[in-house]
Symmetry: C2
Subunit: 237 residues, 2 copies
């Protein structure tokens, strides 16, 4: 199988860098191929806009979703967007490796999603969630935090990590059909001792050895919603 | 009083553009001054990194938070970051105007937060949440969505809008101390008739006339957490 790691840290010697090195080595050792989009090294432009397209359907009134849908039909995405879309479609496993910045993706990675997960290409016409384009494929968030796990608990000061990651795990990855694996979180690494860091890397390698069989997060499937797109009675949210 | 609108839409003729025009006019008519950071027009760079600083504390190992803290002490932020930080500190009311992209901020606006809300300057040393740097000031999300309100309800397909906005409203705005006003959401505007759009603009103007007295979102205050930063028993989350 084939994996794409989208890596969002500027410092190669960082712990995020070590996480991605661990992922590459582990996945290759277990028989998979890997490619990496190292967004800082690529100087990836995360700003979604007119420059995403080689021609515009309506140059006088820019509507991003309309242009994305047109570009899907006409193959008029700009080269930097096409390159990432091709990587995305090649992948059986998609990993986002990032430090949690302001309780979400660093802008360089958020913009990778804005530009690459284009309307028409990755969703639309009833293709979403359990009927999504990438159904049968798997995705994983691997992240580092500043604060400890306790502060990200349901009654912790920063709020529940599951709630904080919901827009990414459900809203981005599951939206386009991926089975989303439980996130791998390295808590408070900047304040961790070397031994704890090594343990995180060991645990991450173990997690990656079972990515094909790990039970995904239990998001509801489309048949569990009624015709107004509300969860049917009795289905827990 | 003085307002800063951070505007994240490339098309001036868009509904987001009309929302910001409405806000400028309404706030000025009610005696306030307004400035706008029109991020696309400014060609704002949302990528947080080494270029945020005129000098680096450690050129051989880049740690973003450490560099931000140093730059706060040494006044070594790059000019584009300083300009936005000065606007932020001048504002009594901060408005983010944006289309909801992938259940969050467009990258150009997420990166404005990443770079401008710098460690040391906007938080640190016990200054966060109800003890935050911007306490006593107010913030508001004004956003447009593709889907209708029903799909963003607690049992709707996309998940509850409150949950989706939690990382922004609680994690960014309240984190640095703002009182966060209930969001103004213009649902599904691309599919709305002219009359509905005009009604949204009228309702938005009305909302902005009372921004100083509207009850903020009821996030817990620091005294409601125990010494391990968990909500005390009996406090509802």
């Amino acid at each position: 199988m084939h994996a794409l790691i989208v890596h969002a840290h500027e410092e190669a010697k960082s712990f995020n860098g070590a996480m991605t090195e661990t992922a590459i080595r582990t996945l290759q050792e277990t028989g998979h191929t890997v490619e990496v989009s190292d967004l800082y090294r690529m100087r990836f432009n995360p700003v979604g806009g007119k420059h995403d397209f080689t021609t515009l359907a309506d140059p006088d009134f820019f509507k991003y979703g309309v242009e994305q849908t047109q570009a899907t039909s006409n193959k008029t995405f700009a080269a930097d967007v096409v390159a990432e879309q091709e990587k995305l479609f090649r992948a059986d496993l998609l990993i986002f490796q990032f430090p949690l910045w302001w309780f979400g993706l660093p802008a360089i990675l958020k913009g990778w999603v804005d530009r690459v997960f284009a309307a028409g290409l990755t969703y639309g016409g009833g293709r979403w969630y359990s009927n999504g384009v990438f159904r049968g494929k798997r995705a994983l968030l691997s992240l580092t935090t500043g604060g400890p796990a306790t502060i990200y608990s349901p009654r912790g000061l920063n709020g529940d990590i599951e709630t904080l990651l919901f827009p990414i795990q459900h809203g981005m990855l599951y939206f386009v059909g991926f089975d989303v694996l439980p996130p791998f979180v390295a808590w408070s690494v900047s304040r961790s001792m070397q031994e704890q860091r090594a343990e995180y890397l060991r645990a991450y390698a173990e997690r990656l050895k079972t990515w094909q069989t790990t039970t995904p997060l239990p998001f509801p499937t489309l048949d569990q919603y009624d015709e107004t797109l509300q969860l049917k009675p009795g289905v827990s949210d």
